[in-house]
Symmetry: C2
Subunit: 263 residues, 2 copies
């Protein structure tokens, strides 16, 4: 299975431009089974208000972005996970949407919102989701979900073999932590982080790139630069994430002692 990661700097508020950029970047490689793109990669990140976030949010799968990605996933015969601003009823969510071969598969709504996101979005109300794509189970989490070990653990215990992890990171801790998330859960993780600087009336933020793929033994298979747009395609065997034996005597899941934890 070939996983593609694609980091770039979305242009704030310019959904059409960003969709064109996404199409150009992921069309540059062929034979990719699963593309993963950053958080909020069609809208940009630094909203000035909940109203602004809402005005840029779209319905899935009814909106323009969904129609575009449906077509793109059909044309490229691939699956695509990307972060978007989602409108659902009267609420706006920081979501990741999943498409495969011309079909909309589903949505994960970020449950742990970071900092000002709490002003812009409603928190997700469902457990972290696992999507079956072909014979592989893909778990999805978004950015700050990383700091809560329960997120990746929930996905792994639910059967996820690969965690698709769109991000808009501004702090330096996540990439190393995701090595631990891979290792402690025996899963692949693909953190795809945007780059670039956004300057809005309220604030300026610089995003830190370094998108990466980590294997179930905690080995980084790829890490991209901090400041340039780039795609990378890595071939993995997702079956390796089914084996939770850390060594002949230790099993990452069966050795857990839930009856002794205080959670």
């Amino acid at each position: 299975m070939k996983i593609g990661i694609c980091q770039f700097a979305p242009v704030f508020g310019e959904i059409e431009k960003n969709l064109t950029l996404i199409e150009r970047m992921i069309s540059s490689e062929s034979g990719v089974d699963l593309w993963i793109l950053p958080e909020l990669c069609t809208t940009g990140y630094l909203f000035v208000s909940a109203d602004e976030a809402s005005s840029l949010a779209e319905e899935f799968p009814a909106g323009r972005t969904a129609r575009c990605i449906v077509e793109l996933s059909a044309d490229l015969n691939t699956s695509i996970v990307l972060g978007v601003a989602e409108k659902l009823g009267t609420k706006t969510y920081n979501s990741a949407v999943v498409f495969t071969n011309g079909n909309f598969v589903g949505t994960y709504r970020k449950i742990h919102l970071f900092f000002d996101e709490k002003r812009w979005f409603s928190p997700g109300f469902e457990a972290p989701k696992i999507f079956q794509i072909g014979d592989v189970k893909i778990g999805v989490m978004i950015c700050f979900d990383w700091i809560f070990p329960e997120t990746a653990r929930s996905l792994a215990l639910g059967g996820a073999q690969i965690i698709a992890h769109p991000a808009n990171l501004v702090l330096p801790f996540c990439q190393d932590a995701m090595v631990t998330r891979s290792l402690e859960n025996g899963i692949f993780t693909a953190t795809v982080n945007r780059i670039g600087t956004e300057t809005r009336p309220t604030k300026t933020l610089t995003f830190t790139g370094k998108s990466q793929i980590v294997d179930p033994l905690g080995k980084r298979l790829e890490i991209l630069p901090s400041d340039s747009p780039k795609v990378a395609v890595i071939e993995i065997d997702p079956g390796k994430a089914l084996d939770k034996n850390f060594n002949p005597m230790n099993h990452l899941f069966n050795d857990r002692k839930p009856e002794l934890y205080r959670l």
Copy 2:
């Protein structure tokens, strides 16, 4: 509060020699409030059988090691956490024992045994423990407990400000993972790992040192070399571990969504 970490190479099976070594090393620094020593640091690690582990195990606080550490903690007016082989009834445990100012405080028995330890020891049957020492809460876990995020999480949710983490590590992953454990839980962690090589009839193992102290923001305050005996003393403010605000909008504990986790 001053924390002392002390890494060395225990001599296999030579409890008296190891106690002398421990006394010499930790007497070299004064004014230390809490000393942390490696896992199984009085007996050595590489037992050939459960019988051999049992023959080297001692009762706590009845045995020779306990009496020696009681005295040492009184003489130095300090607290000491060290890893030992513990005899309890007919069973043998891989335990960490806690002493303060001439008193035995309690025992944590490792719940996640690593590899051949499953042949030598019974697993702990109680939740990871938190010990009140003065006005500071110390959580204790041992070596391979690190790979299960539930261990450090249980200690932190139980109020631990510092995790004392005696270890006998042979793999390279733990030290980086403990940075994540500190950060995700907003706590100090002190991983104290032995050094040296043990050659026994069954196997040879080399332990990897690099004992470290990490602060609640994931900053390494100290890391020792991989192969030489050494003590380090670091002054910390354990009060910093009481503040779980990651930023003005995010709280590491209150932002958890237990109702959405699958654990």
